[in-house]
């Protein structure tokens, strides 16, 4: 998990693209350094022997609770669309997808 080398500007650009974030050149530089530092810090975990340790995903050991299959209406379409930056009737409007 030696990480300093994993983070270069190209990686940062790839990650930003995966995360759909437009970064300025300055931000790219900053995150290259900072993520490198953080990853370097967290690399301490490689010291810990975790063989056969089941990952703990949530802070509770409980099991999920279910919902019965009954329809309940919570909002009207107008309420759902009330914060839409752009809409057309009861549809969300976006720049062309294709």
């Amino acid at each position: 998990m030696s990480s300093q080398s994993q983070i270069d500007k190209k990686t940062i650009q790839k990650i930003a693209s995966l995360a759909q974030l437009a970064l300025t050149a300055k931000e790219e530089d900053l995150y290259t350094t900072q993520l490198g530092q953080i990853l370097n810090y967290v690399s301490q975990l490689s010291e810990v022997n975790t063989e056969n340790i089941e990952p703990m995903v949530t802070a509770t050991e409980m099991l999920v609770t279910f919902r019965e299959d009954e329809v309940k209406k919570m909002l009207t379409p107008d309420e759902v669309l009330s914060n839409a930056p752009e809409r057309s009737g009861h549809l969300f409007k976006v720049p062309p997808v294709l």
Partner: protein
């Protein structure tokens, strides 16, 4: 109208008994909130009209002879990360800058049903990511004990509002210390409940496996009453627990003979400032004097808490923050002509530096080829951290630790170094990762007069033990200083 010295319970009783009017109390609270804004900046939105209207309704109900609820007419401040129907909810982010939710969070509904009056939405670190409240798109919050210092974060506004006596209680959220640390910096009480104790429905998600809503208040009793009101299973949150809610507010200071108190040696290390050490030791002595048995314990995985947390929380956040895409709500960049540009610009311009940093970190740690080494590894060590606590709680009932290594730091001191800021959370992160409850309450002051808190921890769903021990410390505290900031 002066409610400074009244507990939440007393205010509610006095309003219910018609000794006070909800409208007077709420108006005073609103006045203080407005007056404090330019110094403290603890609110993003003050809901004056809504609050006054609600107070009027409550007074009407009371004069009509109706019992309103345990928070009858009590003004409360709610962290601006809990959704309030019809009232702007921003998470302190430009990306949600004008979001008006069409529904309320379960906690807000419970507060309102109990008769509380929400006077405003408090400032926070953007998306609750931070420990100083400096990461807000709506400006820094200042600590009422020293306006040049941070109030702590991320629930900085909620802490400052209570410390400055704007409201007797407030609601915060705690993911890795965001209630306990600002309570500690502002000299008040904050409870991070057991994960699953309080519904997360309608709370803007930061890290789903860690986020928990909790109360902040002037006194342990007030915090306990708030906790009692907001706790309980919610069918809208699968992770909320079906565990009975005790009458926390009825717990009183008494002797704690037989209470086994553990002091984890990993939490009492060299880096702790002398004043902090002294104050925490005083709190321990109070417990001892009240009959507790104190012993040293070990939580060997403590040192890995930060690394584990700063992998798991960003991973979860990177997905939780994907919904802010400029399509259905929130900020949309005005000059995007293609969909990809719309995403990238809206998110690039809408998120502040800290959310972006964590999205980047989380996206990287989950990406192909790194998942096992980062996310999965962190989850494995998380289990070891929890097992440390499991083992400890077979030997002790309550664990006592400092909250932070020092008191509130100066605004700007750590803001340029994210890692230094993250290290601030060293004592609050492991309990969050284990999902156990914690309380932070004042136990002393630095030589300069800044408040210092102590953190008490217990096993899952044993908040009552924390409240019990907290009441004892509070009742026997040698000196209680008055906050210098006056309204």
């Amino acid at each position: 109208m002066d409610f400074d010295k009244l507990s939440v319970k007393t205010i509610a009783e006095k309003i219910q008994n018609k000794e006070l009017k909800a409208q007077e109390v709420v108006a005073e609270s609103l006045n203080r909130a407005k007056k404090s804004q330019k110094d403290l900046n603890s609110f993003i939105t003050i809901c004056e009209a809504e609050a006054l209207k609600k107070a009027e309704q409550i007074d009407k109900q009371v004069s009509g002879g109706k019992g309103v609820g345990p928070l009858c007419g009590v003004p409360v401040a709610v962290k601006d990360i809990l959704l309030t129907k019809g009232i702007k909810t921003t998470a302190a982010s430009k990306i949600l800058g004008n979001f008006i939710p069409p529904y309320s969070s379960t906690v807000v509904e419970k507060l309102e049903r109990a008769g509380a009056v929400i006077i405003g939405k408090t400032n926070l670190d953007e998306f609750a990511m931070g420990a100083s409240n400096e990461n807000s798109a709506f400006g820094v919050v200042k600590n009422p004990w020293d306006l040049t210092r941070v109030p702590g974060g991320s629930s900085g506004g909620s802490a400052a509002a209570v410390a400055a006596k704007i409201t007797p209680a407030s609601i915060g959220t705690d993911t890795g210390g965001s209630i306990r640390e600002p309570a500690n910096f502002c000299g008040i009480v904050g409870i991070k409940p057991t994960y699953g104790r309080v519904s997360r429905f309608g709370v803007v998600a930061f890290a789903s496996s860690l986020d928990q809503v909790g109360p902040m208040a002037d006194t342990v009793e007030s915090a306990a009453l708030m906790l009692e009101v907001i706790s309980g299973k919610d069918e809208k949150d699968s992770t909320s627990a079906n565990v009975a809610v005790e009458e926390f507010s009825k717990i009183k200071a008494k002797d704690v003979k037989g209470l086994r108190v553990g002091l984890p040696k990993e939490y009492f290390v060299d880096g702790i400032e002398a004043d902090v050490k002294k104050s925490v030791e005083e709190a321990i002595k109070i417990l001892k004097d009240a009959g507790a048995q104190v012993k040293e314990i070990s939580l060997p995985m403590t040192k890995h808490g930060i690394a584990v947390y700063y992998l798991i929380a960003p991973c979860e956040a990177s997905a939780n923050l994907s919904r802010y895409d400029g399509i259905r709500f929130g900020y949309r960049s005005s000059d995007a002509t293609s969909l990809e540009e719309l995403y990238k610009r809206s998110r690039g311009e809408g998120f502040g530096a800290e959310p972006k940093r964590r999205i980047m970190l989380g996206t990287f740690a989950l990406s192909s080829g790194y998942y096992d080494a980062y996310y999965k590894k962190a989850c494995q060590v998380r289990r070891l951290i929890k097992e440390d606590f499991d083992k400890a709680f077979t030997q002790v009932d309550v664990i006592v630790t400092p909250v932070t290594t020092g008191p509130a730091f100066k605004i700007g001191d750590k803001s340029s170094d994210p890692l230094a800021m993250y290290l601030n959370d060293i004592f609050t992160l492991p309990p969050s990762l284990a999902g156990i409850p914690g309380i932070s309450l004042n136990c002393g002051y630095t030589k300069q007069g800044l408040p210092i808190g102590v953190q008490l921890l217990s096993n899952h769903f044993e908040e009552a033990k924390l409240i019990q021990a907290g009441c004892v410390i509070e009742a026997n505290q040698k000196e209680v200083k008055k906050v210098p900031y006056g309204l």
